[in-house]
Amino acid sequence: MTESEFMERLRPLEAYLYRMALAIVGKDDAQDVLQEALLSAFVARKQLRDPQYFRPWIKKIVARQCGKQLRNRGTVFPMGRGEEYVFDSTDKGKRPEDHLIWQVVNQLPEIYSQVVILRYLGDMSQKEIAEALGIPEGTVKSRLHKGIGKLREMLEAEKGGLANEMSGR
């Protein structure tokens, strides 16, 4: 794939990939991780034989880089935050069900939400997640299992709520 072909295919995916990185590693690290991933993807672009698989290919590279970041992360706390919190929204007008999924996943403890996002946004297999995060495959297996279980419970509860909302109660 040529340089310009790469850029052309990347352009419509920019926002999506940024969101993915944001979801997995958080705001502070997202741009760093994304840039490293894109650069290495660009350098390795000839490895992609069939350009129609660009999207899954680059998704995987970004997801892998995110996993690496999580693994290398130390504990850094923002200064002056204490018990304060800020919510900054850049999205408007989306389907409520979609946003529900995101919020529900976000409510999981990080060890569960990380593997869930790596799998369902990053399309990674359990083995790949294990490699990326540097943890045993069995641990990934059980975290996914528990994470999905919790999600189902939360979605069931939400569904009841949504049903109530929609029926105007």
Binding site: R11, E14, Q35, F42, V43, V76, G80, Y85, S125, K159
Partner: protein, 489 residues
């Protein structure tokens, strides 16, 4: 093969990650076990919802500029062999750590002159006159926020330069925008290779909460915005710091610090503020609206919440506050700040985009309650009352490692359901019921009637007599509370 061993492999099975042997084992089990067969159907459904939900969420991403940056980086890559310009053992990894790249080409001479002038300290100089090229950069930066953008366009940025330099690292403040809904310091940093962040660490000497947005790397340094809460009216001294991030050690080192004075007078004059005195109480939660501010582009509402949980920045968008316009349009908040000022007391500010029509605006705040710990053993069918609502325990069935529990609720779903169960056996060993719902179905008749819900849970250990104990209740206080916003003359 036992059900629980099969269950844990189902995800891998669905994703075709198992060896052909293991696949056959699983399939054999599925053909004979009704429970697991149902389970896999549920799993597939959940995976579908998850995947499509996450995908659509990710699709609606903000505008970012990666391709141009990549093009520039690739150019640098190919030029690397020709130019031996990097001292300090320039390694591939260092190159990869650069922030957003945007190339601005200007005459080098003019640049040097301007930088020389800007580096005089403590001389204050107007940024716009001394660095004419800075305008477009700042404009690009502030575009992401309607309030900042407006302030900048209309000349409400205090553009006095302030700068500090030490050991070759320089921090320059290009301007401050202080409006009633936020405070933003626009900065330029040069001379540092490591990860860094710029924050507002103090306001009038007191510690402040601050955050930053992604910075942009230009040929003269990195430009970005450091933000903090909106300031009260009048003059204030801000302390701005540059912090080096040491990720390996998990530490931050403060490298530079400077102080500047900003004044919130100007935009305030264009803003209108009203005191509010509206209050409502739900169960043990009381919410009190204090003030609303209308700026040219945004509306901010201040209120206090006492008791309850889940109100404020931590709650999901569906339960987030919104402005309700006369035409029925919902405007969700753009920003919110909250702090615990005392035990159980939270002060919140929410900022919304200001709609064109500001007559008959209401702000709607959904109020949420909390989990309650209880410890009630269920044996016979019985009714328990929790917070004025009846929850009727109708019965339960225990077979092997599956437990089915039937409950009757008033208004199932959003109000008061039991969310935690455990069992205790004769040896006194307790086990929390795994929140797997192999099957959960319920129905409710007319509003006000009881709804019945049957839920299946799974136990780790099988075949032993146990007692069933309810351990937790989710109390969600129903309520959307409306604040009527005064119309502006």
């Amino acid at each position: 093969m036992k059900c629980q061993d099969v269950r844990i492999e189902l995800l891998a099975y669905l994703n075709d990650e198992l060896s052909s042997e293991d696949k056959v084992t699983i399939e054999n089990h599925l053909s004979t076990c009704g429970f697991c067969a149902k389970e896999i159907v549920q799993l597939q459904k959940t995976e579908r919802i998850l995947k499509s939900g996450l995908e659509s969420w990710a699709e609606v991403g903000e505008k970012v500029n990666l391709t141009e940056w990549l093009q520039e980086e690739s150019r640098k890559l190919s030029n690397k062999e020709k130019k031996k310009e990097f001292t300090k053992g320039f390694a591939e990894t260092k190159m990869l750590k650069h922030k957003w790249q945007k190339v601005i080409r200007f005459a080098a001479v003019a640049l040097v002159l301007v930088m020389l002038m800007a580096s005089y300290w403590p001389q204050l100089v107007k940024a716009s006159t001394q660095m004419p090229w800075i305008g477009p950069l700042i404009k690009q930066l502030v575009l992401r926020d309607a309030g900042l953008s407006w302030a900048y366009e209309h000349g409400y940025m205090d553009g006095s330069l302030a700068t500090v330099e030490q050991d070759g690292v320089k921090l320059t403040v290009l301007g401050v925008i202080a409006d009633p809904t936020q405070t933003a310091v626009i900065y330029l940093v040069d001379g540092i290779e490591e990860d860094f962040s710029v924050y507002i660490s103090k306001i009038n000497g007191d510690g402040a909460a601050s955050w930053t947005s992604p910075a942009t790397k230009t040929s003269v340094g990195t430009i970005g915005i450091a933000q903090t809460y909106p300031l009260p009216e009048g003059e204030h001294t801000l302390t701005v710091i540059l912090v080096e991030e040491d990720r390996d050690a998990g530490r931050r080192n403060e490298r530079l610090s400077l102080e500047l004075v900003t004044d919130r007078e100007n935009i305030s004059k264009l803003s209108i503020s009203y005191d509010l005195d509206q209050e409502v109480t739900f169960d043990d939660i009381s919410v009190k609206a204090k003030r609303v501010v209308y700026t040219p582009t945004q509306i901010m509402v201040e209120y206090t919440v006492i008791g309850g949980t889940g109100v404020g920045g931590a709650i999901p968008q569906e339960y987030a506050s919104y402005l309700l316009t006369e035409s029925g349009e919902k405007l969700y908040r753009v920003r919110s700040y909250g702090s615990h000022i005392a035990d159980g007391v939270r002060e919140l500010y929410e900022v919304f985009e200001r709609p064109a029509d500001v007559s008959n605006l209401k702000m709607v705040i959904p109020v949420q309650g909390k989990h309650q710990e209880i410890n009630i053993e269920f044996s016979e069918p019985t009714t328990i009352g929790i917070l004025d609502t009846d929850i009727r325990f109708a019965g339960w069935v225990h077979e092997g490692n599956m437990i089915e529990i039937e409950m009757h609720y008033e208004k199932y779903g959003r109000v008061k359901s039991i969310t935690g169960w455990s069992v205790v056996d004769e040896g006194g060993n307790t086990e929390e019921l795994t929140i797997w719902k192999g099957e959960s179905f319920g129905a409710y008749e007319n509003p006000g009637d009881f709804a019945w819900v049957t839920t299946k849970y799974e136990l780790e250990e099988t075949d032993r007599p146990v007692k069933l104990i309810a351990t937790q209740v989710l109390t969600i206080v129903e309520g959307n509370w409306e604040i009527i916003l005064p119309a502006i003359n």
